[in-house]
């Protein structure tokens, strides 16, 4: 079974009913099943049902993914992409992605890539948290921050849904909020009964944090309770993960 994916931002009018109807028609030409996942609203609907698509609560500038599964996914992808690029803004991972602009949060964002971690002889949870702490913008010593992370983990491991962890601290030692995204090729033991993780979203927030920042994080954590979202997030390439993360932080949770 072929799976193709397309990521895009809705325009200033969101997703209008005639557009949903046109997308439904285009889907009808193919055997592949297509679903629309609105990351910002945290809602996944089949594209062939335009009523459900409208009910997803699409709002202007929402970040969306199309999942196309089936034997003719390649062809369906081409056709749908053509329509989407005409009406919406396609997300391209090679283009400069601005996390601060997308999430609307004043913060320092950094991606810890697999190559950054290659130099390490052995990767485990505390070593990774050490690396994360070193990427955080702070006047304080990174070892101190690392021990704060580890202390937090002692209370309860911060695994959210499957494969996703959200280690976080709130401390006077940081002045600018930092968000560090790590995507691992292999699952890493996070010392939790909820299993190992591949996608680690680390956050170091100032204490007290601004209400916007706290709201953004509570939005995110409410969404990451959903198993499907966690799987999608863990399976996405790291640039797409960053865009999904920004979208989930930006929007108020529906629930």
């Amino acid at each position: 079974m072929l799976i193709r994916r397309a990521a895009f931002y809705l325009g200033i009018n969101g997703l209008e009913s005639w557009q949903a109807e046109k997308l439904r028609k285009l889907c009808g030409y193919f055997h592949a099943s297509v679903s629309l996942f609105n990351v910002s609203q945290c809602c996944r609907v089949p594209l062939e049902n335009s009523l459900k698509v409208m009910a997803a609560g699409n709002k202007p500038d929402d970040f969306c993914l199309l999942f196309i599964e089936g034997m003719d996914a390649e062809l369906a992808h081409l056709v749908l992409l053509d329509y989407i690029s005409e009406h919406f803004k396609i997300f391209q991972s090679d283009q400069d992605f601005n996390f601060v602009r997308s999430s609307g949060l004043e913060c320092h964002f950094h991606i810890l890539s697999a190559s950054d971690l290659k130099s390490l002889q052995r990767l485990d949870k505390s070593e990774l948290l050490n690396q994360i702490a070193a990427s955080i913008q702070t006047p304080a010593d990174s070892h101190t921050l690392c021990s704060l992370f580890l202390n937090r983990e002692k209370h309860a491991a911060t695994v959210m849904g499957p494969q996703v962890a959200l280690p976080h601290i709130m401390t006077e030692l940081v002045t600018v909020p930092s968000i560090i995204l790590t995507s691992l090729p292999e699952p890493l033991d996070w010392h939790s009964p909820r299993g190992p993780v591949r996608c680690i979203i680390a956050a170091a927030l100032p204490k007290p944090a601004s209400i916007e920042m706290i709201r953004a994080f509570t939005n995110l954590s409410k969404k990451l309770v959903d198993e499907n979202i966690c799987r999608l997030l863990a399976d996405a390439p790291v640039q797409l993960q960053a865009a999904m993360l920004a979208a989930m932080l930006a929007q108020q949770a529906k629930c």
């Binding site: 937090r152 209370h155 309860a156 491991a157 911060t158 959210m160 959200l166 976080h168 601290i169 709130m170 009964p193 909820r194 956050a203 927030l205 944090a209 209400i211 706290i214 709201r215 994080f217 509570t218 995110l220 954590s221 409410k222 990451l224 309770v225 629930c255």
Partner: protein, 102 residues
């Protein structure tokens, strides 16, 4: 139908407080329990339990890794406690245990 009021809280109050609350609500729906969950997180107290909620409750469930605020209001009602970790791992089990106590 059993009536439970719950309070969730965690050290940072930005993630697990809300996750646990969500899982408890979902679990309670599955088990046919009426539940009201108050979160005591970094945003302060949300979905605050009303005196009526508390008066009607068969049990108070506190899911927290820290001391929670305003415990005096639960005087006279059986209280069950659980860690955040246990609620995240198996919220259904935590609720089942509550039913035993009701």
């Amino acid at each position: 139908m059993k009536n439970i009021v719950a309070v969730t809280a965690c050290p940072t109050g930005i993630a697990h407080t809300y996750m646990a609350a969500d899982l408890l609500r979902k679990g309670a729906q599955k088990l046919g329990i009426h539940i009201r969950v108050e979160t005591q997180g970094a945003m302060g107290i949300e979905n605050q339990l009303s005196p009526q909620d508390i008066a009607q409750a068969d049990l108070v469930l506190i899911v927290s890794d820290i001391e929670i605020e305003h415990t005096a209001r639960f005087h006279g009602i059986p209280i069950s406690t659980a860690s955040i970790e246990s609620a995240l791992t198996d919220a259904d089990q935590v609720l089942q245990d509550c039913l035993q106590l009701c």
